[in-house]
Amino acid sequence: MKSSLLLCVALAVSLGVILVAGYPWEPEDKDYVLVNNKCQCVTVTSKLIPSKENPNEEIVERNIRILVPLKARENISDPTSPLRTNFVYRMTDLCKNCEPVETELGGKIYQAQQGNSCNEPETCYTYNRDKCYTTTLPFLHRGEIQKVPVALTPTSCYAD
């Protein structure tokens, strides 16, 4: 009984410390990027705003921006596939961060991956501007049909 009372007191004190000390100073209007997915064209940002019910409290507001490419194909690398009519966006998949990040461990810098299931291929709904997408098309030349490689995103496919 006495030990639980002591624990309660300790918790109360630590709570008090946090409430009084406050959060670390953050500059005005801090909008953070949670998701910037170029494959499915989704961005999610969040910020703290005063709540409507209680202006003294702060709540988290998330802005989700989705650009749906209506003229995209089912397979973006194959222009002969049918038009895509089914777009699925999952928050868990979008929030997964597979970008390697540099962390410091024992004085040396290492590259670490933040996500667990990063090996699964993603189905993209639109083109990533920095990547080059190509396909092969049948080309009738001198009576012969040849498969010729063509660039689907010419501006991204320059060598230099």
Binding site: S4, C8, L11, I18, V33, T155, Y158
Partner: protein, 657 residues
């Protein structure tokens, strides 16, 4: 109740890491940057310059200038060759991919041209654009637009402001525009905003009233409007507007912003610069609130406190220079800048943090030697440096000149790393006064400098021999022999390179002597000391033996045994083995009765042994009892030794012990 409190408490914690883990919104806002407001005169012309990240895609993509309206953004001119009707001949667009910008020239301005436009890259309305407000007025004075700065993430921003003679004696400052006014970042006093600590420097230039501000490690939050001016904001003086935008190019970042050094070890800083100008001095300095303290520069200057600790290596092919700082202490924590005299040149900064730990390279840090003696400087390296290139060099400001040294372990085929033999030795056959100074042992990998360790070599001159030094050496028994044949491997004189031979880590030098006439006295000294030590050792040993025998005498039977030892030996002669054995048998105490084949003959002889006290008689009797017992037990066979003894404890013996 406690559980609820705990949960409530935990709810507060996730708020903390958010600010450091996630990028601010500026990171995903449009990287295309241009002026916010452009002013033009009626019938005049105006130039709008827009910046974009010089990635491959952007450099080849279409650039456009469009007019914003309710329905979208209608293209006026673009790099694909289109010009809108009504603008023929008075507008042009030129792309400069090397300068990461494109330019729009508009002439013959009319009042109807006032409006909102967008300059952008790619396809209209996709977000890769920047909004520009164009205002055409009658004049005659046009307000000046802000000066644009387009800076790469983590790089350096250099801002120059010149106000002329008016500003000469006034306070000069740089502040950032915010919601509630302009927040001071730095001024020519000591004020520095804490967000900019360690990464901003304001320096006054030669022209009166002009100054430059350098900010390194530009982050996303540093984008925005700035004011540089003199006087005080809102109260007096003039200001100049600066518009800064940070962009990211998806390539390798420039230098590491933070370097972590282990206490006692070393840290390596790599400074990159864009062009090589031989006239400018390159230097490395430590950041202080209103100045940068010089530490080392390429014209040979080294700050007094950093003697032997810092070196600069230049590699003009890669446009870098490397600084190594060793013997790190906690007070070395701070910000260090790589700078050049040339203001337009790239300056960069790094933060150094010190942590506790073990340095990789170990060895004697201070070595004293006499002139003319042989000195070996040893450096042990751990297995992680097995494949690295190791070197020794002599420190002479501002660099460290490499010296020939040998690596004990030649890295041949095979991937094992022994725990011994990992040393690099620098030897001096005959050290001279000029060899005094700092020596560094270091590792290099792929052309990059790694860890180093500094050793200070002090040479005490002259033949006025430090006898004390010799005696110090000689204390250790391994060095007790006269120095002329001390080392296991004899090294002939004249060979400059170092040699094999396991040297102990504490090589204090003077174990090898050369044939100087002065050393005769030096040889006699150690020999005498050796004799003294031997004598002392002998005395101590004897004393202890005596002491032991004293202890033994408490159990009185023992003393007499030893006495009888001598007596019996004298009597029977040295070669009488049987008798010596016999007396040894009776000497044994405890329960360990090594009866080496007790035969009836022996028992008879034990009786016959000369005894001079009652104890001995008792001893002999008990021995007899035991041996007889053994004889009985012996019949099963063999020498029943210790196994027999505990089973048959002599009844009388316990009483005696």
């Amino acid at each position: 109740m406690t559980l609820l409190a705990l949960i409530f408490l935990l709810a507060f914690f996730p708020a903390q890491p958010a600010s450091s883990r996630y990028l601010p919104k500026a990171a995903i806002s449009s990287p295309v940057f241009g002026p916010r407001q452009v002013y033009g005169l009626l019938d005049g012309s105006v130039i709008v310059k827009c910046f974009y990240p010089p990635t491959t895609v952007n450099r080849h993509d279409r650039k456009y200038w469009c007019r914003q309206s309710a329905t979208g953004c209608r293209t006026i001119v673009s790099t694909t060759g289109y010009v809108a009707p009504g603008y023929q001949g008075r507008i042009s667009i030129i792309d400069h991919p090397d300068a990461e910008s494109f330019q729009i020239n508009i002439t013959q301005l009319a009042a109807a041209d006032t409006g909102t436009y967008q300059c952008g890259v790619g396809i209209n309305g996709r977000g890769l654009s920047h909004k520009v407000n164009l205002e055409v007025s009658e004049g005659p004075h046009l307000p000046e637009g802000a000066e644009l700065y387009y800076v790469k993430l983590h790089s350096t921003l250099t801002v120059s402001c010149n106000f002329g003679k008016d500003a000469e004696l006034e306070r000069k400052y740089l502040c950032k525009m915010g919601k509630k006014g302009c927040y001071d970042i730095v001024d020519n006093g000591k004020k520095v905003d804490k967000d900019f600590e360690g990464r901003v420097l304001l320096s006054l230039q030669e022209d009166p009233g002009s100054f430059t501000v350098v900010i390194t490690q530009m982050g996303w939050e540093d984008s925005g409007l700035y004011l540089c001016g003199f006087g005080t904001y809102g109260v007096s003086g003039e200001t100049k507007e600066l518009d800064v935008h940070v962009y990211e190019e998806t390539s390798v970042p420039q230098g590491k912003p933070t370097i972590i050094g282990v206490k006692g070890s070393s840290a390596t800083f790599e400074c990159h610069y864009n062009s090589l100008k031989r006239s400018s001095t390159k230097y490395w300095c430590r950041w202080k609130p209103n100045r940068c303290e010089w530490i080392i520069s390429d014209d040979g200057y080294v700050a007094p406190f950093y003697e032997g600790r810092v070196a600069m290596y230049e590699s003009p092919d890669n446009n870098t220079f490397t600084i190594i700082l060793n013997q790190l202490e906690s007070k070395d924590e701070g910000y260090y800048w790589c700078m050049t005299d040339d203001v337009k040149e790239q300056q960069s900064s790094t933060q150094l943090k010190i942590i506790d730990g073990e340095p990789g390279l170990t060895g004697e840090k201070e070595v004293e030697a006499r002139v003319g003696s042989r000195v070996d400087l040893t450096c042990h390296y751990p297995c992680k440096y097995y494949s690295y290139e190791k070197y020794w060099c002599k420190w002479d400001s501002p660099s460290c000149t490499p010296m020939p040294a040998s690596d004990q372990r030649q890295p041949g085929p095979g991937v094992t790393c022994d725990t011994d033999n990992r040393t690099v030795i620098l030897s001096f056959d005959s050290v001279a006064e000029s060899d005094q100074g700092w020596y560094w042992c270091g590792v290099k990998h792929n052309g990059h400098y790694g860890e180093t360790m500094a050793v200070q070599l002090q040479v005490t001159g002259g033949s006025g021999a430090d006898r004390s030094l010799d005696l110090l050496d000689v204390d250790k028994p391994s060095h007790a022999e006269p120095p002329s044949h001390a080392e296991p491997g004899v090294i002939p004189k004249g060979r400059a390179s170092s040699d094999a031979g396991e040297q102990s880590a504490a090589s204090s030098g003077s174990s090898g002597e050369s044939h100087d006439p002065n050393t005769v006295a030096l040889i006699v000294g150690p020999v005498g000391a050796v004799l003294l030590v031997l004598a002392t050792a002998f005395a101590v040993f004897k004393y202890r033996q005596l002491k032991r025998s004293d202890l033994v005498s408490v159990g009185s039977y023992r003393t007499n045994i030893s006495m009888s030892d001598f007596e019996s030996v004298k009597e029977y002669g040295a070669s009488n083995k049987a008798c010596v054995k016999e007396s040894q048998e009776t000497q044994l105490g405890g329960d360990e009765f090594i009866t080496t084949g007790a035969t009836p003959g022996n028992t008879a002889e034990t009786k016959k042994a000369k005894r001079s006290s009652k104890e001995d008689v008792d001893l002999a009797y008990s021995t007899f009892l035991l041996t007889s017992g053994n004889i009985v037990q012996d019949t099963p066979g063999g020498d029943s030794r210790d196994s027999a003894a505990p089973d048959v404890p002599p009844p009388g013996w316990e009483g005696q012990i």
